[in-house]
Symmetry: C2
Subunit: 631 residues, 2 copies
């Protein structure tokens, strides 16, 4: 049952007390902004199609709190509207044993997106609002934002996509309290927020953010817009409701002392029962259960896969393009299959996909931050989501967006092309030579670097059906279909990709090369040439460079001359991973030689770059012969 404005008003008064208690109990947190946003939090929860008895209903309205540090306000609103337990919230806030973390965290009913890094929430909202359109659902998406974060460029990006896609189911409520950590927002960096939204083609409604009637009237208008997204710019007062806190920057991120709390609760007409919570908090244990993430798995049909033939030369990015087009057709009647692109359609090979599945092709333009977050949000909203981009844009440029996707445990399949120095002539800014070094920092994201079209095909299908974030890194150039020692297709129709498994591509006693991706062909070619000279070496393909069991190939390492060969910064790639595995398992080589890029490479053909860097077949053969003679 929806509450009346009078009931809401009283609830807001009680909620303000809760906010102050929980931050004092935690001796930490952000009471000021929570109190400027609380009237809007309660109003939206009171209107939204979102209910405590089924908080993960696929048709539910979504709420995102982009200024995630106002978590006290939002948690309290959730509690007072029946989604979570108020005692748990007040007792546990910011305690390691509680799910009520310092910034709102996904996996609590009513929290759709973990935030904390400012500026990403609107993109997440755009992703979810877009998902509603793609899945033919009527739900609305409410995004809470603030004046402070409005300076972030990613918000300007997200605004454009919202307008382009005509997301009239998207409503932003912007808490304009004019206070940031360092003082008045207008002094720190004046952002003409309403003008910027208007210039981007949004519906702009300006209100008093503490007037419940104005809030509700504005929501009524925004919810019924036919054209374009809406923003409600709400003038608010930091610390609203407690006289000595109002308009005072120092209460942005500081809890009240016990004395101040007592004074504030008196002013709010509330009982001071804070000591009860302080005592209860002492009983909390350090361990707690994992957040209860809603199920986001899709029943993906991946088909038989495509078998590229001996003698064919196909770029891995093309194999991706073929596979994703196939996946779109196979799952056509089950759920939307989407590819998010940043103006690189021909390069990342999405043309075929767009042809067979035009609605699933999402052009974001040159806005990678926005694109990465939109893609992450889509991926947990009933849409099989790929994000295709050049490596430097899909990883380096969006390190923190991919990290937040990792924290949010999204289900995104990122395919980064033009990795290594394979985009040679474009030069060092465009050479993605950190893909292992970047993904290594994420705890829950898999990295796969396939080496030919057959493996790429299997890997793309594996990623599609395997829950969680997966990054697939490929190059630009055409590559031969990889053959085994007998000259037959290595990754044939019986091949199944298993994450963490290595591939014994060539077998020999003298020396072992570990490699992955396009450089696999250099290692194999060198091996085949050397074999004619009677020198037999092993080549081990490591398509999952962040996950392998060194014990499974111990005999190729222990006491051997071992080389790593990588299209990657030699300081941050497989050589490090392998060294770590060697040391942790006490499996020691006779000698170890890491080969890779020792500096940014210049602009030039990839062939010239490899030659210059000593990473071409000829250099490798000389190096191997030298090492074998030396031993």
């Amino acid at each position: 049952m929806k509450k009346s404005l009078i009931e809401l008003k009283d609830l807001a008064r009680i909620a303000r007390g809760d906010i102050l208690k929980m931050t004092t109990v935690a001796d930490s947190g952000h009471p000021g902004g929570s109190m400027s946003s609380i009237d809007m939090y309660l109003s939206v929860l009171n209107r939204a199609n979102l209910f405590p008895d089924n908080p993960y209903d696929p048709d539910r309205d979504r709420i995102i709190v982009s200024h995630g540090h106002t978590s006290p306000g939002y948690y309290v609103a959730l509690a007072r509207m029946g989604f979570v337990n108020i005692e748990d919230v007040i007792t546990g806030f910011r305690h390691v044993g509680s799910v009520y973390e310092g910034h709102v965290t996904r996996g609590i009913p009513g929290v759709e997106w973990s935030t904390g890094n400012l500026g990403q929430g609107l993109s997440a909202g755009v992703g979810m609002a877009l998902a509603a359109k793609l899945t033919n659902k009527n739900y609305k998406v409410y995004v809470f934002s603030s004046d402070g974060e409005s300076a972030k460029g990613q918000i300007a990006e997200a605004r454009r996509t919202a307008r382009k896609e005509n997301l009239n189911n998207l409503i932003v409520l912007l808490d304009y309290n004019d206070i940031q950590i360092s003082g008045r927002a207008r002094d720190i960096l004046y952002v003409n927020i309403a003008a910027e939204y208007r210039a981007a083609g949004w519906n702009v409604i300006e209100i008093d953010g503490h007037d419940l009637k104005q809030i509700n009237d504005a929501l009524e208008i925004a919810e019924n817009q036919k054209i374009g997204p809406s923003v409600i710019v709400a003038k608010t007062i930091i610390g609203k409701g407690v006289s000595f806190m109002e308009n005072t920057p120092s209460y942005h991120g500081k809890a009240l002392s016990l004395e101040e709390l007592d004074k504030a609760l008196k002013e709010l007409g509330l009982e001071n029962d804070v000591h009860k919570y302080i005592e209860k908090r002492k009983q909390l244990s350090l361990k707690r259960e994992e957040n209860n993430y809603p199920n986001i798995e899709l029943d993906v049909e991946v088909g038989e896969g495509k078998n590229y033939k001996k003698g064919e030369k196909v770029a891995n990015r093309n194999a991706f393009g073929n596979a994703i087009a196939d996946l779109a057709v196979l799952n056509k009647d089950k759920f939307p299959v989407v590819a998010v692109d940043c103006d690189l359609k021909p390069s990342v090979k999405l043309e075929k996909f767009e042809k067979v599945n035009p609605d699933g092709y999402i052009q974001i333009g040159i806005e990678e931050h926005n694109a990465a977050t939109i893609a992450g949000a889509l991926s947990i909203s009933g849409v099989l989501t790929f994000f295709a981009d050049f490596g430097v844009f899909g990883l380096d440029e969006v390190f923190n967006q991919q990290r937040l996707n990792d924290i949010n445990r999204t289900n995104l399949k990122t395919v980064v092309t033009h990795c290594g120095t394979d985009v040679g002539e474009d030069g060092k800014t465009h050479h993605e030579i950190n893909y292992i070094g970047i993904v290594r920092n994420y705890y829950h994201t898999k990295l796969i670097v396939p080496c030919d079209a057959n493996q790429t095909d299997k890997v793309v299908r594996y990623a599609a059906k395997t829950p969680g974030n997966i990054i697939i890194a490929v190059g630009r150039s055409n590559l031969p279909v990889l053959l085994d020692e007998e000259g037959e297709v290595f990754y044939d129709e019986n091949y199944e990709f298993r994450y963490g498994e290595v591939d014994l591509l060539r077998k020999g006693e003298e020396l072992t090369i570990l490699t992955y991706g396009s450089f696999t062909h250099i290692a194999v070619e060198a091996s085949d040439i050397l074999r004619k000279d009677g020198i037999k070496i092993s080549v081990i393909g490591v398509p999952s460079p962040l996950c392998f069991d060194i014990k499974s190939f111990r005999k190729y390492i222990e006491g051997k001359i071992v080389l790593t060969l990588e299209d990657h910064n030699v300081n941050s790639g497989l050589a490090n991973e392998l060294s770590r595995a060697m040391i942790e398992n006490s499996i020691y080589p006779k000698s170890f030689q890491p080969l890779g890029l020792k500096d940014y490479a210049p602009s030039g053909t990839n062939k010239d770059i490899l030659k210059l860097s000593g990473l071409d077949v000829d250099s490798l053969i000389i190096k191997i012969k030298d090492l074998i003679v030396k031993k």
Copy 2:
């Protein structure tokens, strides 16, 4: 001698032929946009206070080409205006043996900033224009931009800072050819460019970008603005000057065939001498000299340093705050000392600095991408530049901006605070636990993690006087002044920080711990407690975790039980670096135990987090005793 408009017009015709030749010779590159920008490139070079005989004059006007893929146009303009040799440009473009890379690259006369990643150029221009104001110079900064990159959020950020700082010496020339890789810009993502600049308070001038008179008149107006920065939005035609190329998206990134080139040169009334260059290109060697970076070193006075006393408890961020304030005073009369802040003044301890040096305190607001690039540009413009931010914002959020600073070989001192889980209650989005894992990917940036206030003081002064990019990572909490085994100050007045040197903090035979930063105190405390039980272990401080000589402490590793203890993702930190060094030098431990964070930590007090993660003193002591018994 400045050229007349008639002379310029003819030069533009010749330059168009040069662009087409060089891209055909390279069989690569972006002729279309180069031809839409060339009239503006020549016009600006013809007006600017920038001359071939002294291209690095500190008073010169600065030119930044943000859409760096139009390098053919800009290189040719530089050549035709006498800055570089036209034969070298046409012959060498995009060849590994040539400095004329695919995207404009710093270290060529007239190129102030390497670009390639779109959206960063305007921030670099803002940085340089700000440097002019700070150093009391009159130079102007011209930034070339494009419609395609205007979608990037960082540009919206940079616009605001330009207006806030009233940079009337900043002029943007925006090539609006309405073509991107995937088609018409307006279809990909409509950005109302002129309206957005106007909303941000800029002077906007709209012109025909191929009319030399209009270009020059607009520049005249913009150069004489008293208030605010100016943008010249220039409507242009991609491929301008060759009928079959005009307005054709496919010529964005495709060189002409030899036949097409011949046709185009005929239309331009130019001789086809392309074969001469094709032949010359074959003679180029793969190796070339380093780019000729202008000297950016400053003669920095670092003083005697501050000595924190035994018994004091001081946070490393406070030691930084004290040191930078000291540096500002010491160098007051020599050059500006600047600290770039993103609305975290009290947290990153810049209040004292602002007090003694108000002009040097630069408040960018919550715009980290913009801030990181501005700081990089300032650092090569006669300003001693610090960028202070939380770790997650100064590293994770700006991975690619810091990478471009690394590529540009800037002179930036980044101080990231609140590293590790030391900002405990704010939760996982705010825990910077990748600082080693991130910086490992940069080739030319040093990382230093000091462990107490005395070492921090020395490190900040070392960074100030040492050229190049240096990142200093510190935590939040107060820490004791580190003492030696005799109870005296370890980093005393005789201590000098040397990059790559390790510190033997405790000496014992039974086991060795390697650590850095705030965790040093945990290791030392555990060691001191264990000593009372008769167990002596070694503790080695590794303040430069990306650079150490394992041979210098071989005897503490070889055959020993070795632990790494780090306030960092256990998968991407010192444990990897050390493993690599062990393997490459065949220095093997008896056993190896990496201790660090195995997953994102929850929100809570740092004490609770460490306990939960088994990284507090008690857990460490149990672990050590267990390992020693086992042996």
